[in-house]
Amino acid sequence: MHGLPQADPTRVPAGHAAAVALRRRPQLPQLQISRRVWIGLASLAGTFLLWWLLTDVTGAIGPHRFPAPAEFWAALVQIATDGYAGGTLLTQAWYSTRLVIMGFLVAIATGVPLGLLMGVSHRAEALLNPAFLLVRPIPPLAWIPLAIVWLGLGDAAKILVIWFAAFVPSVINTWTGVRGVDRTLIAAARVHGAGELRLLWEVIIPGSLPMMFTGLRLSLQASWTTLVAAELVGAFFGLGRVLDAAYRDINPPMIAVAMLAVGVLGALTTRLVAVAERRLIPWRS
Protein backbone atom coordinates (compact mmCIF):
# COMPACT_ATOMS: atom_id res chain seq x y z
CA MET A 1 0.00 0.00 0.00
CA HIS A 2 2.47 2.59 -1.10
CA GLY A 3 1.15 6.03 -1.78
CA LEU A 4 -0.34 6.34 1.69
CA PRO A 5 1.63 8.59 4.03
CA GLN A 6 3.62 6.73 6.63
CA ALA A 7 2.31 7.12 10.17
CA ASP A 8 4.82 8.86 12.38
CA PRO A 9 5.26 6.57 15.38
CA THR A 10 6.30 9.48 17.59
CA ARG A 11 3.06 11.37 17.17
CA VAL A 12 -0.10 10.59 19.09
CA PRO A 13 -2.73 9.36 16.63
CA ALA A 14 -5.19 12.15 15.84
CA GLY A 15 -8.23 10.16 16.88
CA HIS A 16 -7.04 9.53 20.40
CA ALA A 17 -5.99 13.12 21.01
CA ALA A 18 -9.32 14.33 19.75
CA ALA A 19 -11.16 11.90 21.98
CA VAL A 20 -9.20 13.02 25.01
CA ALA A 21 -9.78 16.67 24.20
CA LEU A 22 -13.49 16.07 23.75
CA ARG A 23 -13.88 14.46 27.10
CA ARG A 24 -12.67 17.64 28.81
CA ARG A 25 -12.70 16.20 32.30
CA PRO A 26 -11.36 18.52 34.99
CA GLN A 27 -7.94 17.33 36.08
CA LEU A 28 -8.42 16.41 39.73
CA PRO A 29 -5.25 15.00 41.18
CA GLN A 30 -5.73 11.31 41.90
CA LEU A 31 -4.77 11.89 45.50
CA GLN A 32 -7.66 14.23 46.26
CA ILE A 33 -10.44 11.90 45.13
CA SER A 34 -9.09 9.02 47.14
CA ARG A 35 -8.69 11.22 50.17
CA ARG A 36 -12.36 11.95 50.40
CA VAL A 37 -13.22 8.30 50.01
CA TRP A 38 -10.66 7.27 52.61
CA ILE A 39 -11.90 9.76 55.16
CA GLY A 40 -15.48 8.71 54.47
CA LEU A 41 -14.67 5.08 55.04
CA ALA A 42 -12.73 5.93 58.17
CA SER A 43 -15.65 7.94 59.43
CA LEU A 44 -18.10 5.12 58.89
CA ALA A 45 -15.69 2.64 60.44
CA GLY A 46 -15.27 4.95 63.40
CA THR A 47 -19.00 5.21 63.88
CA PHE A 48 -19.33 1.45 63.72
CA LEU A 49 -16.57 1.08 66.27
CA LEU A 50 -18.27 3.56 68.56
CA TRP A 51 -21.53 1.70 68.18
CA TRP A 52 -19.91 -1.56 69.09
CA LEU A 53 -18.06 -0.08 72.04
CA LEU A 54 -21.12 1.55 73.51
CA THR A 55 -23.29 -1.51 73.28
CA ASP A 56 -21.46 -4.82 73.35
CA VAL A 57 -18.25 -3.90 75.08
CA THR A 58 -19.19 -1.41 77.77
CA GLY A 59 -22.96 -1.90 77.90
CA ALA A 60 -23.37 1.87 78.26
CA ILE A 61 -26.39 1.59 76.03
CA GLY A 62 -28.45 -1.32 77.18
CA PRO A 63 -29.86 -3.95 74.81
CA HIS A 64 -33.36 -2.76 75.55
CA ARG A 65 -32.53 0.64 74.15
CA PHE A 66 -30.40 -0.01 71.12
CA PRO A 67 -29.07 -3.23 69.67
CA ALA A 68 -25.42 -4.20 69.55
CA PRO A 69 -23.95 -5.04 66.13
CA ALA A 70 -24.14 -8.75 66.84
CA GLU A 71 -27.80 -8.57 67.83
CA PHE A 72 -28.55 -6.48 64.79
CA TRP A 73 -26.98 -9.07 62.57
CA ALA A 74 -28.88 -11.89 64.27
CA ALA A 75 -32.18 -10.10 63.78
CA LEU A 76 -31.36 -9.42 60.14
CA VAL A 77 -30.65 -13.07 59.55
CA GLN A 78 -33.80 -14.06 61.35
CA ILE A 79 -36.13 -11.92 59.34
CA ALA A 80 -34.38 -12.73 56.12
CA THR A 81 -34.78 -16.46 56.59
CA ASP A 82 -37.54 -17.30 59.05
CA GLY A 83 -39.45 -14.10 58.75
CA TYR A 84 -41.08 -11.83 61.31
CA ALA A 85 -44.62 -10.57 61.86
CA GLY A 86 -45.90 -12.81 59.12
CA GLY A 87 -43.28 -12.80 56.42
CA THR A 88 -39.63 -12.75 55.46
CA LEU A 89 -37.75 -9.53 54.86
CA LEU A 90 -38.20 -9.84 51.14
CA THR A 91 -41.95 -10.40 51.25
CA GLN A 92 -42.50 -7.59 53.72
CA ALA A 93 -40.30 -5.23 51.76
CA TRP A 94 -41.95 -6.14 48.50
CA TYR A 95 -45.38 -5.65 50.01
CA SER A 96 -44.52 -2.14 51.07
CA THR A 97 -42.72 -1.33 47.84
CA ARG A 98 -45.68 -2.51 45.83
CA LEU A 99 -47.97 -0.12 47.65
CA VAL A 100 -45.57 2.76 47.16
CA ILE A 101 -45.25 2.05 43.46
CA MET A 102 -48.99 1.81 42.98
CA GLY A 103 -49.75 5.00 44.85
CA PHE A 104 -46.86 6.80 43.21
CA LEU A 105 -47.84 5.80 39.67
CA VAL A 106 -51.47 6.78 40.15
CA ALA A 107 -50.31 10.06 41.66
CA ILE A 108 -48.13 11.04 38.73
CA ALA A 109 -50.73 9.80 36.25
CA THR A 110 -53.19 12.21 37.79
CA GLY A 111 -50.87 14.93 39.04
CA VAL A 112 -48.76 15.58 35.96
CA PRO A 113 -51.70 16.08 33.58
CA LEU A 114 -53.38 18.33 36.11
CA GLY A 115 -50.18 20.33 36.50
CA LEU A 116 -49.92 20.60 32.73
CA LEU A 117 -53.51 21.73 32.45
CA MET A 118 -53.14 24.37 35.13
CA GLY A 119 -49.86 25.47 33.64
CA VAL A 120 -50.92 26.01 30.05
CA SER A 121 -54.29 27.52 30.79
CA HIS A 122 -54.64 30.44 33.17
CA ARG A 123 -58.37 29.84 33.10
CA ALA A 124 -58.10 26.25 34.21
CA GLU A 125 -55.71 27.35 36.93
CA ALA A 126 -58.12 30.02 38.17
CA LEU A 127 -60.95 27.52 38.27
CA LEU A 128 -59.09 24.73 40.04
CA ASN A 129 -56.91 26.76 42.35
CA PRO A 130 -59.35 27.26 45.24
CA ALA A 131 -59.90 23.53 45.72
CA PHE A 132 -56.19 22.89 45.38
CA LEU A 133 -55.16 25.63 47.78
CA LEU A 134 -57.49 24.29 50.43
CA VAL A 135 -56.28 20.74 50.18
CA ARG A 136 -52.60 21.44 49.70
CA PRO A 137 -51.51 22.61 53.16
CA ILE A 138 -52.92 19.52 54.80
CA PRO A 139 -49.99 17.20 55.37
CA PRO A 140 -50.49 13.83 53.68
CA LEU A 141 -50.06 12.08 57.02
CA ALA A 142 -53.07 13.95 58.30
CA TRP A 143 -55.18 12.04 55.80
CA ILE A 144 -54.38 8.73 57.41
CA PRO A 145 -57.13 8.75 60.05
CA LEU A 146 -59.71 9.80 57.47
CA ALA A 147 -58.54 7.20 55.00
CA ILE A 148 -58.87 4.54 57.69
CA VAL A 149 -62.36 5.72 58.56
CA TRP A 150 -63.33 5.48 54.92
CA LEU A 151 -61.49 2.40 53.81
CA GLY A 152 -60.44 0.45 56.87
CA LEU A 153 -57.03 -0.86 57.74
CA GLY A 154 -56.33 -2.60 54.46
CA ASP A 155 -54.33 -1.69 51.39
CA ALA A 156 -56.85 0.70 49.90
CA ALA A 157 -56.41 3.26 52.65
CA LYS A 158 -52.64 3.14 52.29
CA ILE A 159 -52.79 3.67 48.56
CA LEU A 160 -55.17 6.58 48.99
CA VAL A 161 -52.83 8.32 51.39
CA ILE A 162 -49.76 7.61 49.28
CA TRP A 163 -51.63 8.89 46.27
CA PHE A 164 -52.38 12.09 48.06
CA ALA A 165 -48.83 12.53 49.32
CA ALA A 166 -47.32 12.10 45.88
CA PHE A 167 -50.03 14.01 44.05
CA VAL A 168 -49.38 17.48 45.43
CA PRO A 169 -45.66 17.78 44.59
CA SER A 170 -46.32 16.37 41.11
CA VAL A 171 -48.91 19.00 40.36
CA ILE A 172 -46.93 21.89 41.76
CA ASN A 173 -43.65 21.03 40.13
CA THR A 174 -45.23 20.29 36.76
CA TRP A 175 -47.07 23.58 36.93
CA THR A 176 -43.86 25.39 37.83
CA GLY A 177 -42.05 23.64 35.01
CA VAL A 178 -44.62 24.69 32.45
CA ARG A 179 -44.59 28.30 33.56
CA GLY A 180 -40.83 28.26 33.48
CA VAL A 181 -40.54 27.30 29.83
CA ASP A 182 -38.72 30.02 27.92
CA ARG A 183 -41.39 32.11 26.20
CA THR A 184 -39.07 32.69 23.28
CA LEU A 185 -39.05 28.97 22.59
CA ILE A 186 -42.83 28.99 22.51
CA ALA A 187 -42.74 31.95 20.14
CA ALA A 188 -40.18 30.16 17.97
CA ALA A 189 -42.45 27.13 17.73
CA ARG A 190 -45.46 29.23 16.81
CA VAL A 191 -43.69 31.22 14.11
CA HIS A 192 -42.66 27.98 12.50
CA GLY A 193 -46.22 26.80 12.33
CA ALA A 194 -46.74 24.60 15.39
CA GLY A 195 -50.32 23.96 16.45
CA GLU A 196 -51.45 23.54 20.07
CA LEU A 197 -50.85 19.82 20.31
CA ARG A 198 -47.41 19.94 18.81
CA LEU A 199 -46.55 22.89 21.00
CA LEU A 200 -47.57 20.92 24.05
CA TRP A 201 -45.86 17.68 23.12
CA GLU A 202 -42.64 18.97 21.57
CA VAL A 203 -41.97 22.20 23.41
CA ILE A 204 -43.83 22.58 26.68
CA ILE A 205 -43.45 19.05 27.99
CA PRO A 206 -39.75 18.65 27.16
CA GLY A 207 -39.13 22.11 28.56
CA SER A 208 -40.81 21.20 31.83
CA LEU A 209 -39.14 17.82 32.24
CA PRO A 210 -36.37 18.95 34.60
CA MET A 211 -38.85 20.48 37.04
CA MET A 212 -41.17 17.53 36.61
CA PHE A 213 -38.42 15.21 37.74
CA THR A 214 -37.77 17.29 40.81
CA GLY A 215 -41.45 16.80 41.51
CA LEU A 216 -41.11 13.06 40.97
CA ARG A 217 -38.28 12.85 43.45
CA LEU A 218 -40.23 14.79 46.05
CA SER A 219 -43.28 12.66 45.36
CA LEU A 220 -41.33 9.49 45.88
CA GLN A 221 -39.88 10.71 49.17
CA ALA A 222 -43.34 11.70 50.33
CA SER A 223 -44.69 8.32 49.28
CA TRP A 224 -42.23 6.42 51.44
CA THR A 225 -42.69 8.65 54.47
CA THR A 226 -46.43 8.35 54.20
CA LEU A 227 -46.40 4.60 53.72
CA VAL A 228 -44.28 4.00 56.77
CA ALA A 229 -46.55 6.23 58.82
CA ALA A 230 -49.70 4.61 57.51
CA GLU A 231 -48.39 1.14 58.22
CA LEU A 232 -47.37 2.18 61.69
CA VAL A 233 -50.84 3.47 62.47
CA GLY A 234 -52.42 0.25 61.43
CA ALA A 235 -51.56 -2.46 58.98
CA PHE A 236 -51.61 -6.20 58.58
CA PHE A 237 -48.44 -6.51 56.61
CA GLY A 238 -45.43 -4.59 55.38
CA LEU A 239 -42.29 -2.96 56.74
CA GLY A 240 -44.26 -0.53 58.87
CA ARG A 241 -46.04 -3.49 60.39
CA VAL A 242 -42.69 -5.07 61.14
CA LEU A 243 -41.62 -1.86 62.85
CA ASP A 244 -44.82 -1.80 64.85
CA ALA A 245 -44.62 -5.44 65.86
CA ALA A 246 -40.96 -5.09 66.83
CA TYR A 247 -41.91 -2.14 68.98
CA ARG A 248 -44.65 -4.05 70.73
CA ASP A 249 -42.37 -7.01 71.27
CA ILE A 250 -39.72 -4.61 72.54
CA ASN A 251 -37.28 -5.98 70.01
CA PRO A 252 -34.79 -3.17 69.29
CA PRO A 253 -32.63 -5.18 66.90
CA MET A 254 -35.62 -5.87 64.70
CA ILE A 255 -36.66 -2.23 64.85
CA ALA A 256 -33.24 -1.26 63.60
CA VAL A 257 -33.39 -3.85 60.81
CA ALA A 258 -36.76 -2.55 59.65
CA MET A 259 -35.51 1.03 59.70
CA LEU A 260 -32.51 0.09 57.66
CA ALA A 261 -34.71 -1.71 55.15
CA VAL A 262 -36.89 1.37 54.77
CA GLY A 263 -33.82 3.55 54.28
CA VAL A 264 -32.28 1.25 51.70
CA LEU A 265 -35.49 0.98 49.70
CA GLY A 266 -35.93 4.74 49.81
CA ALA A 267 -32.41 5.27 48.52
CA LEU A 268 -32.79 2.62 45.82
CA THR A 269 -36.02 4.00 44.43
CA THR A 270 -34.62 7.52 44.45
CA ARG A 271 -31.60 6.28 42.54
CA LEU A 272 -33.93 4.71 39.96
CA VAL A 273 -35.65 8.04 39.41
CA ALA A 274 -32.27 9.73 38.99
CA VAL A 275 -31.27 7.17 36.38
CA ALA A 276 -34.54 7.65 34.52
CA GLU A 277 -33.97 11.38 34.63
CA ARG A 278 -30.53 11.12 33.12
CA ARG A 279 -31.84 9.00 30.25
CA LEU A 280 -34.88 11.11 29.50
CA ILE A 281 -33.10 14.43 29.70
CA PRO A 282 -29.89 13.99 27.71
CA TRP A 283 -29.63 17.65 26.87
CA ARG A 284 -28.53 20.38 29.19
CA SER A 285 -31.30 22.97 29.36
Binding site: V120, H122, L127, P145, P252
Partner: protein, 266 residues
Protein backbone atom coordinates in the same frame (compact mmCIF):
# COMPACT_ATOMS: atom_id res chain seq x y z
CA UNK B 1 -54.22 29.49 20.88
CA UNK B 2 -57.38 30.27 22.73
CA UNK B 3 -57.09 27.42 25.19
CA UNK B 4 -53.37 27.44 25.91
CA UNK B 5 -53.22 30.96 27.20
CA UNK B 6 -49.62 30.47 28.17
CA UNK B 7 -48.76 30.70 24.46
CA UNK B 8 -50.94 33.70 23.89
CA UNK B 9 -52.41 36.55 25.83
CA UNK B 10 -53.13 36.12 29.53
CA UNK B 11 -56.87 36.50 30.16
CA UNK B 12 -58.12 39.55 31.98
CA UNK B 13 -57.50 39.40 35.77
CA UNK B 14 -61.16 40.02 36.43
CA UNK B 15 -62.15 37.02 34.38
CA UNK B 16 -59.67 34.92 36.32
CA UNK B 17 -60.98 36.13 39.65
CA UNK B 18 -64.50 35.24 38.59
CA UNK B 19 -63.38 31.78 37.57
CA UNK B 20 -61.73 31.31 40.96
CA UNK B 21 -64.94 32.25 42.72
CA UNK B 22 -66.85 29.84 40.53
CA UNK B 23 -64.30 27.15 41.30
CA UNK B 24 -64.56 27.71 45.04
CA UNK B 25 -68.35 27.74 44.88
CA UNK B 26 -68.42 24.53 42.87
CA UNK B 27 -66.09 22.83 45.30
CA UNK B 28 -67.83 23.76 48.53
CA UNK B 29 -71.27 23.75 47.02
CA UNK B 30 -70.73 20.34 45.52
CA UNK B 31 -69.36 19.00 48.77
CA UNK B 32 -72.26 20.42 50.76
CA UNK B 33 -74.82 19.02 48.33
CA UNK B 34 -73.33 15.57 48.34
CA UNK B 35 -73.25 15.55 52.12
CA UNK B 36 -76.83 16.81 52.47
CA UNK B 37 -78.33 14.67 49.74
CA UNK B 38 -77.85 11.54 51.77
CA UNK B 39 -76.08 9.74 48.96
CA UNK B 40 -73.25 9.30 51.42
CA UNK B 41 -73.91 8.92 55.13
CA UNK B 42 -72.82 11.75 57.45
CA UNK B 43 -70.76 9.11 59.20
CA UNK B 44 -68.58 8.97 56.14
CA UNK B 45 -68.66 12.44 54.69
CA UNK B 46 -69.66 15.31 56.95
CA UNK B 47 -70.68 18.51 55.21
CA UNK B 48 -68.30 21.47 55.25
CA UNK B 49 -70.64 23.29 57.57
CA UNK B 50 -70.65 20.37 59.97
CA UNK B 51 -66.86 20.34 59.98
CA UNK B 52 -66.58 24.01 60.84
CA UNK B 53 -69.28 23.71 63.47
CA UNK B 54 -67.42 20.80 65.02
CA UNK B 55 -64.16 22.70 65.01
CA UNK B 56 -65.82 25.61 66.72
CA UNK B 57 -67.40 23.36 69.27
CA UNK B 58 -64.17 21.55 70.06
CA UNK B 59 -62.40 24.81 70.63
CA UNK B 60 -64.20 25.05 73.92
CA UNK B 61 -65.40 21.56 74.72
CA UNK B 62 -62.73 19.05 75.61
CA UNK B 63 -62.20 15.98 73.49
CA UNK B 64 -59.64 13.32 74.31
CA UNK B 65 -58.62 15.19 77.40
CA UNK B 66 -58.30 18.83 76.32
CA UNK B 67 -59.98 21.46 74.20
CA UNK B 68 -58.86 21.81 70.62
CA UNK B 69 -56.99 24.97 71.46
CA UNK B 70 -55.05 23.21 74.20
CA UNK B 71 -54.20 20.41 71.81
CA UNK B 72 -52.97 22.90 69.24
CA UNK B 73 -50.78 24.58 71.80
CA UNK B 74 -49.30 21.24 72.78
CA UNK B 75 -48.56 20.47 69.13
CA UNK B 76 -47.02 23.86 68.50
CA UNK B 77 -44.79 23.45 71.53
CA UNK B 78 -43.39 20.19 70.26
CA UNK B 79 -43.02 21.65 66.79
CA UNK B 80 -41.07 24.59 68.12
CA UNK B 81 -38.73 22.37 70.10
CA UNK B 82 -38.05 19.92 67.32
CA UNK B 83 -37.71 22.57 64.64
CA UNK B 84 -35.65 24.82 66.86
CA UNK B 85 -33.28 22.00 67.70
CA UNK B 86 -32.89 21.05 64.05
CA UNK B 87 -32.12 24.64 63.08
CA UNK B 88 -29.75 25.31 65.93
CA UNK B 89 -27.72 22.19 65.21
CA UNK B 90 -28.20 21.91 61.47
CA UNK B 91 -27.41 25.42 60.32
CA UNK B 92 -24.05 25.93 62.07
CA UNK B 93 -23.02 22.40 61.23
CA UNK B 94 -23.92 22.93 57.59
CA UNK B 95 -21.98 26.16 57.46
CA UNK B 96 -18.98 24.55 59.10
CA UNK B 97 -19.12 21.64 56.68
CA UNK B 98 -19.23 24.05 53.80
CA UNK B 99 -16.18 25.81 55.12
CA UNK B 100 -14.03 22.95 56.33
CA UNK B 101 -13.54 20.19 53.81
CA UNK B 102 -12.35 17.74 56.43
CA UNK B 103 -15.50 18.08 58.46
CA UNK B 104 -17.52 17.62 55.31
CA UNK B 105 -15.65 14.43 54.47
CA UNK B 106 -16.22 13.03 57.94
CA UNK B 107 -19.85 13.90 58.47
CA UNK B 108 -21.24 13.48 54.96
CA UNK B 109 -21.16 9.68 54.76
CA UNK B 110 -22.94 9.33 58.10
CA UNK B 111 -25.49 11.93 57.12
CA UNK B 112 -26.16 10.38 53.73
CA UNK B 113 -26.57 6.94 55.30
CA UNK B 114 -29.17 8.13 57.79
CA UNK B 115 -30.93 10.59 55.55
CA UNK B 116 -33.02 8.13 53.60
CA UNK B 117 -34.69 6.67 56.64
CA UNK B 118 -38.18 8.12 56.68
CA UNK B 119 -38.48 10.33 59.79
CA UNK B 120 -41.42 8.33 61.05
CA UNK B 121 -39.40 5.15 61.03
CA UNK B 122 -37.74 6.61 64.13
CA UNK B 123 -41.01 6.45 66.01
CA UNK B 124 -40.52 3.01 67.57
CA UNK B 125 -37.16 3.99 69.03
CA UNK B 126 -38.54 7.34 70.05
CA UNK B 127 -41.39 5.63 71.83
CA UNK B 128 -39.06 3.10 73.40
CA UNK B 129 -36.78 5.77 74.76
CA UNK B 130 -39.23 8.51 75.69
CA UNK B 131 -42.58 6.83 76.10
CA UNK B 132 -45.44 9.11 75.21
CA UNK B 133 -43.72 12.12 76.72
CA UNK B 134 -42.54 15.09 74.77
CA UNK B 135 -39.19 13.57 73.83
CA UNK B 136 -40.68 11.11 71.36
CA UNK B 137 -42.38 13.50 68.96
CA UNK B 138 -39.53 15.98 69.27
CA UNK B 139 -37.06 13.35 68.16
CA UNK B 140 -39.16 12.43 65.15
CA UNK B 141 -39.63 16.08 64.24
CA UNK B 142 -35.91 16.57 64.51
CA UNK B 143 -35.28 13.65 62.16
CA UNK B 144 -37.55 15.23 59.57
CA UNK B 145 -36.47 18.84 59.98
CA UNK B 146 -32.73 18.32 60.21
CA UNK B 147 -31.76 17.44 56.61
CA UNK B 148 -33.03 20.60 54.88
CA UNK B 149 -31.43 22.83 57.51
CA UNK B 150 -28.09 21.13 57.06
CA UNK B 151 -28.19 20.84 53.30
CA UNK B 152 -29.26 24.39 52.64
CA UNK B 153 -26.75 25.85 55.05
CA UNK B 154 -24.07 23.76 53.38
CA UNK B 155 -25.09 24.86 49.90
CA UNK B 156 -25.35 28.45 51.00
CA UNK B 157 -21.87 28.37 52.46
CA UNK B 158 -20.50 26.86 49.26
CA UNK B 159 -22.11 29.61 47.23
CA UNK B 160 -20.42 32.35 49.19
CA UNK B 161 -17.60 33.44 46.97
CA UNK B 162 -14.29 32.07 48.01
CA UNK B 163 -12.90 35.53 47.41
CA UNK B 164 -14.97 36.97 50.21
CA UNK B 165 -13.64 34.41 52.63
CA UNK B 166 -10.10 35.06 51.43
CA UNK B 167 -10.60 38.79 51.81
CA UNK B 168 -11.71 38.27 55.38
CA UNK B 169 -8.71 36.06 56.03
CA UNK B 170 -6.27 38.62 54.68
CA UNK B 171 -7.87 41.16 57.00
CA UNK B 172 -7.07 38.96 59.95
CA UNK B 173 -10.39 37.32 60.69
CA UNK B 174 -10.29 33.98 62.47
CA UNK B 175 -12.40 30.91 61.71
CA UNK B 176 -15.30 31.74 63.97
CA UNK B 177 -15.55 35.33 62.86
CA UNK B 178 -15.50 34.25 59.24
CA UNK B 179 -18.35 31.87 59.87
CA UNK B 180 -20.43 34.41 61.71
CA UNK B 181 -19.74 37.51 59.65
CA UNK B 182 -19.05 36.25 56.17
CA UNK B 183 -20.59 32.82 55.66
CA UNK B 184 -23.74 33.30 57.67
CA UNK B 185 -24.92 36.52 56.00
CA UNK B 186 -23.83 35.23 52.59
CA UNK B 187 -25.64 31.96 53.02
CA UNK B 188 -28.68 33.52 54.62
CA UNK B 189 -31.02 33.40 51.59
CA UNK B 190 -30.30 29.73 51.14
CA UNK B 191 -30.63 29.11 54.87
CA UNK B 192 -33.99 30.81 55.08
CA UNK B 193 -35.25 28.82 52.10
CA UNK B 194 -34.06 25.69 53.86
CA UNK B 195 -35.79 26.72 57.07
CA UNK B 196 -39.05 27.08 55.19
CA UNK B 197 -38.80 23.58 53.74
CA UNK B 198 -37.65 22.29 57.10
CA UNK B 199 -40.61 23.84 58.93
CA UNK B 200 -42.98 22.18 56.49
CA UNK B 201 -41.38 18.81 57.04
CA UNK B 202 -41.27 19.40 60.78
CA UNK B 203 -44.97 20.11 60.89
CA UNK B 204 -45.70 17.00 58.87
CA UNK B 205 -43.50 14.81 61.00
CA UNK B 206 -45.15 16.22 64.08
CA UNK B 207 -48.58 15.26 62.88
CA UNK B 208 -47.35 11.81 61.98
CA UNK B 209 -45.64 11.31 65.30
CA UNK B 210 -48.72 12.42 67.18
CA UNK B 211 -50.81 9.95 65.25
CA UNK B 212 -48.80 7.13 66.72
CA UNK B 213 -47.18 8.06 69.97
CA UNK B 214 -48.72 10.92 71.84
CA UNK B 215 -51.24 11.63 74.54
CA UNK B 216 -52.16 15.11 73.46
CA UNK B 217 -51.95 17.22 70.36
CA UNK B 218 -53.85 17.49 67.09
CA UNK B 219 -52.58 14.21 65.73
CA UNK B 220 -53.70 12.47 68.87
CA UNK B 221 -57.13 14.07 68.47
CA UNK B 222 -57.42 12.76 64.94
CA UNK B 223 -56.44 9.23 65.86
CA UNK B 224 -58.88 9.17 68.74
CA UNK B 225 -61.60 10.48 66.49
CA UNK B 226 -60.77 7.80 63.99
CA UNK B 227 -61.19 5.07 66.59
CA UNK B 228 -64.51 6.60 67.57
CA UNK B 229 -65.53 6.80 63.91
CA UNK B 230 -66.13 10.53 64.12
CA UNK B 231 -65.00 11.87 60.75
CA UNK B 232 -66.25 15.36 61.49
CA UNK B 233 -63.71 15.65 64.28
CA UNK B 234 -61.04 14.12 62.10
CA UNK B 235 -61.71 16.69 59.43
CA UNK B 236 -61.79 19.46 61.98
CA UNK B 237 -58.35 18.30 63.01
CA UNK B 238 -57.20 18.22 59.40
CA UNK B 239 -58.50 21.74 58.95
CA UNK B 240 -56.53 22.97 61.96
CA UNK B 241 -53.41 21.22 60.77
CA UNK B 242 -53.77 22.75 57.33
CA UNK B 243 -54.46 26.25 58.57
CA UNK B 244 -51.55 26.29 61.00
CA UNK B 245 -49.19 24.72 58.49
CA UNK B 246 -50.18 27.39 56.01
CA UNK B 247 -49.66 30.15 58.56
CA UNK B 248 -46.17 28.90 59.34
CA UNK B 249 -45.33 28.70 55.65
CA UNK B 250 -46.64 32.19 54.95
CA UNK B 251 -44.68 33.63 57.84
CA UNK B 252 -41.47 32.04 56.62
CA UNK B 253 -42.10 33.10 53.04
CA UNK B 254 -42.26 36.66 54.26
CA UNK B 255 -39.03 36.21 56.12
CA UNK B 256 -37.52 34.82 52.92
CA UNK B 257 -38.67 37.81 50.92
CA UNK B 258 -37.31 40.17 53.52
CA UNK B 259 -33.92 38.56 53.46
CA UNK B 260 -33.89 38.55 49.65
CA UNK B 261 -34.74 42.22 49.41
CA UNK B 262 -32.04 43.27 51.84
CA UNK B 263 -29.30 40.87 50.95
CA UNK B 264 -30.05 39.96 47.38
CA UNK B 265 -29.99 36.41 46.15
CA UNK B 266 -26.91 34.38 46.97
Amino acid sequence: MAFMTIADRTPHPRELMLLSLVGAALFFGGWQLIAISGAVSPQTLPSPIAVIATAWQLAFEPFAGHTLIEHIVASLGRFAMGFGLAAVIGVPLGLAMGRFRLLDDIVSPIFEALRFIAPLAWVPFAALWFGTGIGGPVMVIFAGAFPPCLINAYRGAKLVEVRLVEAAQTLGAGGLRIMAEVLLPGALPSIVAGLRVSAGLAWQSLVGAELIVASAGIGYVMVQAQSNLAPAIVMAGMLSVGVIGLAIDVALRRAERLVKSRWGQA
